[in-house]
């Protein structure tokens, strides 16, 4: 979960921001503006300033807000001058819009407001429906309006071409004034209140917001057309009200409440996707007639109100269907105002003390929460830069000591008051303060490990603070850190900021020195001991049940979580004390064992058996779950090698039988969680070939986790796999989002005696991802189902792997969100039209996509117990084929193709309902906020190229289709530092960066693009070269190896790009390789691996199988056949880190030291120099 922000206005009209990860308010310093009210959404904050003007502050992001402007140039042929702009009088304008009805001169296209700027000049669009055009982008037709073609024919009398220009929204992270509504016929009517919401009403357009405002005259206004690409909206429109409004609140979804002068509330009805303004008003009476409603705030399914006597009320029974609710319930506390934010969390401003309160204990099942808790976060110094995640998070740790002084007085710490009392009594000798020299007050925040060095460092910090006076150093400190929260703290490059820790030091030291900086500077900002507040808005603040907030305690020194974070990432791993313990233990073992290995062991190794009762999905028909007794026998051989056998005892026809599995033959253990069963599948090479794993189920989740953990541990022991995966590891994910990793043996890519890929051992990693992409030097990125980008931290375990199977550090909480879809089906009959009464032969009226399973709204459960619903069912309009206004898709009969409009021949219709569910797990992943991704690619590990010194190339496509290039990615900082946006004329879908920085991408229209001139010194390249897709196919994914380029189209064909040469990197044509391929991954040895559908095993057919292309050689890059590996149910594979070849390389030695299976002895085998890739 990235940090998000709570916005508030103090009594002086200054706007402050409090991060969910931070501990202190940060001032939004901006011009001389003073604000009355703010209303926040995730991506922006709207404010009403004291000049009664409306402002919007859009959060900065690496991806620009970019709008395409287009104009058409139209020409007609005449016998004299050929094509020219002399048109017939009846023709359209020579320069027009797409319809030809409006004139549109290039010079006449103006920027909509001063907050926009042009990105470049006008240029001709050469892409026509996925095909490149020749001759300057002209398309030809017989006459205007007609169908245009790419080719000029004998009867082409007219032609046109499209001109493009992009404009960018430039006023980000600053308050941008919205032009006032100037109606000359009316007296000015300034605004009095505003509220933003509505982001859950619709996905179309992206980033839609509803902004409502109330004027001093009591009128209600709606701002039209606010979306991601039009953050300012376009115009104000008046919405009639039956009374004089004073205040308004708009929820994330369809709730809108208004308070009236008379004390009643107005509730808007009929707000929907098609009508975000709603249709009518209903009146709700105040709780008591003498005290009318003064303030109201609404969420998704809650309404809170404050009456004139400052009492707080909760409205019962509010929902989308019943926006008025049923009755008022009085809550404890007296408030000035309350505000409902994301997840229906509630904040308020206390009437007595003007403090900001947070409502604790608000959960979906208990929306009214439990208690009000005051936020005691203290005030932060001025910061010119605010609103972006990076600087917000850093607030919590950089200014530790300043907070101490100002914070302690305002609220007593409620940490652990009893701890003092429980300490040993006074008879215990208390350590003398003098002994403890580094613990002077300035440094107490970091006098942890490495004390002596810390104090030295602290002195440096002091001198630095002394030298630079004035507030300058702070903004620079604040803006220096890279974008990622954790890079701020730990992986910061030491050269960038003065006074920070040098590489070898524990990083707490650098924090300490930073903590000193504000000491001399805090006077200007600590004007009052605590701030008095006027307004708060939680619309951009995501707090969930498990979010740990640090707002309620006074910050003392380094906050614990920051400390934990600092300890957990690399620098602490190299802390002197830890290194010494490792060294001494090694030394001890040498001293005490080396000369005595011939001694007898005191304890003989024995067999250990774990038994239990499980269920087994029996091998014979009819397949069903049968009760079995299971025993795992583990034993140790004379050489110390460990092995085990799993026995499954079953009874068939009253005869006792068993099957057994040697653990050293197990190739994968896959949890198969469903709503009903806690089961797992166990694969061996033979079972993989059969496509029929051993499936076992446990009675409880705990029981299953115990078995799975034990079996995993034993298997890893048998395969001698432990610790973090090597940098060459092959990563994959299943359709359940489980992550598996395999250590490549050198024989895997051998030209002869190839290791069959069904013999690879797959070990599970904690976490939940849709995509994992690895590349050179151990850089591994993942993308969750919700598009969140994650970077691998170097740990292992997490999820259900606890204890020994998990690394001590580098495992963090991870969450993912996905949508579950069901279909509502209806059939038309002549009497009543479409009804939910189908023919007896029809599918269920509520079903899954296939229609075979009944799926009702009430009966559909989240995929497994790990998942919990986080939203209600809603109609999903973004269905392939389109949908009408109510989300219906029509067809002539049920199993058929659907379209989004009704015709005479359509007798059935369906619509898709979606509901979001969320999973919380843990794994060795850290979030790379804030941009959600669709695809990512890391430059593959190039054999023999060290690549050091340059940052590692990493490209991505955002969920909105923007192409991005990550800067600053290195072995030590795999998360990189920032995104560089690479402009495109249309949204993209897939990107891949191969050897020698060849970058290929696939656009959403199915055509491919090659990026020219990408090099380490020019990481984003210069321009796109359009590559037509294979005839009549739309590509969906591309993968570039060392020299080979492969692509997969929407019909699951695999294509090889022919003729790719260093002199002509775009290649000459596509060559068909295979069908039934869902995804391809080409590695640094030009090895080709795919996820294939429909692989026939001896027992069953599998979908989603890992396959390896055999016979790939330099002269035969397309290979010859397939070798089938693990599956089905696999969704993604990445072999792009595996450059493991015969002669031992430095990286293999490294892997060998970690005790990984491809140790030096293995790596030394199989001479394979012959199959080196052709370097470009």
């Amino acid at each position: 979960m990235p940090s998000s922000a709570l916005w508030a206005v103090d009594l002086f009209g200054r706007v402050h921001v409090l991060s969910t990860a931070g501990q202190s308010w940060e001032l939004c310093r901006d011009t001389q503006l003073e604000f009355k009210r703010v209303s926040a959404a995730t991506q922006c904050c709207w404010g009403l300033a004291c000049d009664h003007q409306v402002y919007v502050r859009v959060r900065a992001s690496a991806v620009p807000i970019r709008r395409q402007e287009e104009a058409y140039e139209n020409q007609r042929w005449n016998p004299v001058g050929g094509f020219c702009d002399k048109l017939l009088p009846s023709d359209r304008w020579p320069w027009s819009d797409v319809s030809g009805l409006q004139p549109r001169l290039l010079d006449g296209v103006a920027l909509p407001s001063p907050h926009w700027e042009w990105e470049s000049d006008w240029h001709v669009d050469e892409n026509f429906g996925g095909e490149p055009t020749e001759k300057g982008g002209w398309t030809y037709a017989i006459d205007f309006p007609a169908t245009y073609t790419r080719d000029k024919k004998w009867n082409s009398c007219v032609r046109r071409r499209r001109w493009l220009r992009y404009r960018r929204y430039k006023s980000r992270d600053t308050w941008a004034k919205i032009p006032p509504k100037d109606d000359p016929q009316q007296l000015p009517d300034p605004f009095n209140d505003l509220s933003v919401g509505g982001w859950e009403i619709t996905d179309e357009p992206v980033g839609h917001l509803s902004l409502w405002a109330v004027s001093l005259q009591g009128k209600v206004w709606y701002r039209e057309d606010i979306s991601h690409t039009n953050p300012e909206g376009s115009s104000w429109s008046l919405v009639d009200t039956p009374g004089e409004a004073v205040q308004i609140s708009c929820g994330p979804h369809d709730l809108l409440w208004v308070t009236l002068w008379e004390g009643q509330a107005l509730v808007r009805e009929g707000i929907s996707r098609n009508d975000p303004k709603g249709s009518s008003w209903s009146v709700v009476e105040p709780p008591t007639s003498e005290n009318g409603i003064m303030h109201v705030s609404v969420g998704v399914a809650v309404v809170w109100a404050v009456t004139k006597d400052r009492k707080v009320w909760f409205r019962r029974g509010v929902s989308s269907h019943s926006p008025c609710g049923t009755s008022w319930m009085e809550m404890v506390g007296e408030m000035m105002m309350v505000d409902v934010g994301l997840n229906d969390q509630v904040w308020g401003i206390g009437y007595e003390d003007r403090a900001v309160y947070f409502r604790q204990g608000v959960t979906p099942s208990e929306l009214s929460g439990k208690t009000w808790k005051a936020i005691v976060a203290s005030q932060e110094c001025d910061r010119s830069h605010c609103g972006s995640n990076s600087s917000l998070l850093s607030a919590g740790c950089f200014f530790g000591d300043e907070v101490r002084g100002s914070g302690e007085s305002c609220a007593p710490s409620d940490t652990d008051a009893s701890s003092e009392a429980e300490r040993p009594g006074p008879d215990q000798p208390v350590p003398a303060e003098s002994l403890d020299s580094p613990r002077n007050p300035e440094c107490s925040s970091a006098s942890g490990p490495g004390t002596s060095k810390t104090s030295e460092h602290a002195t440096e910090g002091t001198s630095l603070a002394g030298q630079t006076s004035g507030p300058e150093p702070q903004p620079s400190q604040a803006s220096t850190p890279a974008e990622l929260p954790w890079t701020n703290i730990d992986l910061k490059e030491p050269k960038k900021a003065p006074g920070q820790g040098t590489a070898g030091l524990p990083d707490t030291a650098s924090l300490c020195s930073l903590g000193l900086l504000p000491l001399g500077l805090d006077e200007p900002c600590s004007t009052g001991d605590h701030l008095l507040w006027a307004w708060v808005s939680g619309g951009g603040c995501a707090v969930e049940a498990h979010t740990v907030l640090k707002w309620f305690t006074v910050q003392s020194g380094l906050s614990p979580s920051v400390q934990a974070l600092a300890l957990s990432i690399t620098p602490a791993q190299t802390a002197a004390w830890r290194t010494q313990i490792f060294q001494q233990l090694t030394e001890r073992t040498r001293r005490e064992l080396e000369n005595f290995r011939h001694y007898e062991q005191a304890v003989e190794q024995s067999v250990w058996v774990k038994t239990g009762v499980l269920q087994w999905w029996c091998d014979w028909k009819p397949h069903k779950w049968v009760d079995v007794r299971v025993a795992l026998e583990q034993f140790t051989g004379h050489d110390g090698a460990r092995d085990g056998i799993l026995f499954v005892y079953y009874v068939v026809h009253e005869e006792k039988k068993y099957l057994h599995v040697f653990l050293n033959e197990v190739t994968a253990l896959v949890p198969v969680l469903s709503e009903a069963k806690h089961s797992f599948a166990l694969y061996t090479p033979e079972r993989t070939r059969q496509r029929w794993p051993v499936r076992l189920a446990a009675a409880t989740e705990q029981d299953m986790n115990d078995w799975l953990a034990l079996l995993n541990l034993s298997c890893c022991e048998s395969w001698k796999v432990h610790g973090r995966p090597s940098v060459q590891a092959i990563w994959s994910t299943t359709c359940k989002g489980d992550i598996f990793v395999s250590e490549p043996s050198p024989d895997l890519e051998a030209s002869e005696h190839l290791l069959p890929c069904d013999q690879m051992f797959w070990r599970q990693m904690g976490g939940h991802l849709r995509v994992v992409e690895a590349g050179g030097q151990g850089v591994v990125w993942g993308i969750g189902y919700d598009g969140t980008a994650w970077v691998y931290t170097g740990g292992y375990g997490g999820g259900c792997f606890q204890g020994l199977a998990s690394s001590t550090s580098n495992v963090y909480a991870q969450s993912d969100v996905k949508s579950i879809c069901i279909y509502e089906n209806q059939r038309w009959n002549p009497v009543t039209g479409y009804t939910s009464r189908g023919l007896p032969t029809d599918r269920y009226m509520w079903s899954d996509a296939s229609g075979l399973q009944e799926c009702t709204k009430a009966g559909t459960k989240p995929p497994s117990l790990q998942w919990a619903w986080v939203s209600d069912w809603s109609v999903d309009f973004s269905v392939p084929g389109g949908a009408d206004q109510e989300g219906w898709q029509y067809a002539s009969d049920f199993p058929s193709s659907y379209h989004g409009y009704k015709t005479m021949r359509d007798f059935v219709r369906r619509r898709r309902w979606a509901r979001k569910c969320k999973l919380v797990t843990s794994g060795p992943w850290l979030e790379v906020a804030p941009i959600a991704l669709r695809d990512v690619s890391v430059i593959p590990e190039s054999p023999g190229v060290s690549g050091r010194g340059h940052s590692i190339a990493l490209w991505a496509v955002s969920d909105k289709g923007d192409v991005l290039c990550r800067l600053g990615v290195s072995e030590l900082n795999p998360a990189g530092s920032s995104w560089l946006h690479v402009g495109t004329d249309q949204p993209f879908a897939s990107v891949s960066v191969g050897g020698c920085h060849q970058v290929w991408a696939v656009a959403r229209d199915g055509s491919a693009f090659y990026r020219g001139s990408v090099s380490p010194s020019q990481p984003a390249g210069d321009c796109w070269y359009h590559i037509p897709s294979p005839p009549k196919q739309r590509l969906k994914q591309v993968s570039v190896g060392q020299t080979s380029v492969y692509a997969v189209d929407e019909n699951e064909n695999l294509w090889y790009r022919q003729g790719v040469m260093p002199s002509y990197p775009q290649g000459s044509g596509w060559e068909h390789v295979s069908n039934n391929v869902r995804r391809v991954s080409v590695g640094p040895l030009d090895q080709v691996w795919v996820i294939a559908n429909k692989v026939q095993g001896s027992h069953s057919l599998s979908r989603g199988t890992v396959c390896h292309r055999t016979g790939v050689r330099p002269l035969e890059p397309k290979g010859q056949g397939w070798d089938y590996g693990i599956g089905g149910g696999w969704d993604h594979i990445c072999v792009r880190a595996n450059a493991t070849r015969a002669p031992r390389s430095a990286s293999q030695e490294r892997a060998g030291k970690q005790g990984l299976p491809n140790g030096p002895s293995l790596a030394a085998g199989a001479p394979r120099e012959a199959r080196g890739p052709v370097c470009c």
């Binding site: 350590p431 830890r578 233990l585 005595f596 005191a602 034990l710 690394s807």
Partner: protein, 275 residues
Amino acid sequence: MTDDKDVLRDVWFGRIPTCFTLYQDEITEREAEPYYLLLPRISYLTLVTDKVKKHFQKVMRQEDISEIWFEYEGTPLKWHYPIGLLFDLLASSSALPWNITVHFKGFPEKDLLHCPSKDAIEAHFMSCVKEADALKHKSQVINEMQKKDHKQLWMGLHNDRFDQFWAINRKLMEYPAEENGFRYIPFRIYQTTTERPFIQKLFRPVATDGQLHTLGDLLKEVCPSAVAPEDGEKKNQVMIHGIEPMLETPLQWLSEHLSYPDNFLHISIIPQPVD
């Protein structure tokens, strides 16, 4: 990169090469050969010396055999101390193998507890584990465990099975995420120079200001004589499992990684050997 989990293995698989010799005054039928054995540091003498007992009993008459006990350089060895602790405390500066004298007579009643059977070791071990959990989690974790889990802890130690033991023991090493460590650190500090068998006090892993306490903090508080003054000469070694962790090492980390199977940190303070 080495992971902290490897420390657990190193600690578990620590072995001390030992030479057992029968006490000269014991009556034997024929000469008793010394017996060489690798003793697990984390185990207990009477738990792992069945072979020793059998070896010497072969050369003795039945009537001369009573309860076996061990002695090193005149000091009777307490079986209820882990072997590694005994070695660190008494013999760490001497040459290997460790020479232990085996007695069958003259049980030193005032120095040693009787060990009638392995049940006594189990009872002692489990009571230590329970005491440690009382300190760490107010006994909540150990009480939530089933009987078979307790048994698995013991059997893991008994059979020297790391996985078996740690599959359960990890639960004893967990703590709530909002805390930064255990409630109190179960530790015992042993010194050869004092009469007191060991020091054991309540000590929290995290200071009131949120700082993690270190090994040095602990020693300064409960055993100030063990730490040398800032500029002074180092007089003592602070030893756990045969190594000397730096005083800056966080105590919570030590407790999680260098505790003996009984969940206690057994810390030996021994005089710095003079070269």
